[in-house]
């Protein structure tokens, strides 16, 4: 009876000696994970929320691009500008997507309409419609922090996913396609 507590105590002491090692291993794990995290990849705070309402002029013709018309189908909302080099980089892939039947709506961000039109003639136009956001007011509503950004909009007008940066086949297959399939179920 008298000896039992002392053995228990020594066991506890051994465990306490191991505590710093445990802390160290935990710290190493978190630091190691931090190495592979990209601090520039920001999750959009609008995911699973309805597309903010907007009504902006069209680039090519008279008329307005309205948020409530972007419904009925899965659609990409691509924010681009002619002054943005990475937008040119993703253009061939967007053309491919457009040919395969994915509706893409463009939002021309803080751009000169003439420059935007020349750019479209040079690189091709994958967009069904292009709205002009000359002041960046709509981009602010969408939480855009750099062009290009591509949103996936569901048929009922919800934002499902946002990709900031150049759109590639790998990202399309990894992030966009599974989400479309999942929503369709």
């Amino acid at each position: 009876m008298v000896k039992l507590p002392t053995t228990k105590k020594s066991k506890v002491r051994d465990l306490i000696k191991l505590l710093p090692l445990g802390f160290f291993i935990g710290l190493v794990f978190f630091l190691w994970r931090g190495l592979s995290l990209d601090p520039h990849a920001l999750p959009s705070s609008l995911i699973d929320k309805p597309l903010p309402a907007f009504d902006i002029p069209l680039l090519d013709e008279a008329g307005q691009l309205k948020s409530n018309t972007l419904r009925g189908k899965f659609r990409l909302l691509n924010i681009w500008a002619s002054w943005c080099d990475s937008c040119t980089e993703e253009q061939p892939f967007l053309m491919k997507l457009a040919y395969s039947g994915i509706p893409i709506t463009g939002i021309n961000y803080k751009d000169e309409p003439i420059h935007a039109q020349t750019w479209l003639k040079t690189w091709g136009n994958p967009y069904q419609a292009i709205g002009v956001d000359e002041t960046g007011r709509l981009a602010l509503e969408l939480g855009v922090y750099g062009t290009p950004e591509t949103f996936l909009v569901s048929p009922d007008g919800k934002l499902i996913y946002r990709h900031a940066g150049v759109m590639t086949a790998a990202i399309w297959e990894k992030e966009f396609l599974p989400r479309i399939k999942e929503e369709k179920r």
């Binding site: 601090p39 520039h40 920001l42 705070s45 609008l46 922090y145």
Partner: protein, 164 residues
Amino acid sequence: MCWRVMWRPGPEWVAKLTCLLRLRRIVGWALAQQRSYGGAKAQPTIPIRCFLFLLCLLSLPLFATPSQPRYESLLKELRCLVCQNQDLLESHAALASDLKQQVAKLMTEGKTDEEIRRYLVQRYGEFILFKPLIKPTTWVLWFGPGAFLLLGLSGLSIWVIRSR
């Protein structure tokens, strides 16, 4: 911009207080003028009433116009999303200047700091705040250091008491 007009050195409430005190002095002067003409019991005449009414109207922006110190201290709390370790006040990125304009606009519309923060968080996420919000997922971040300090102090005190 509007906030430059009302700008006074020092914190915002000092600026508003000095403005109000000046206003009170002017009103006092106007009433004294009135009394010197018509005696102590005289009612303010119509021109003086109009003058006082105009003063009241002019003092309204005092409560609605954001001041420079408020604008700057709010911008210092907000992160520039392009150059992420810079605050909005220091940043010269195009997006930062758009956000600054929006903050100034919301301030002139009479929005509080809290409302402006919420507006930005809704669009850009909590990452835009340098100070994370206090909620269950950030409890470790906020209270962890204090908890570890207490743990260390209690461990130390147990050790000291035992070794006596």
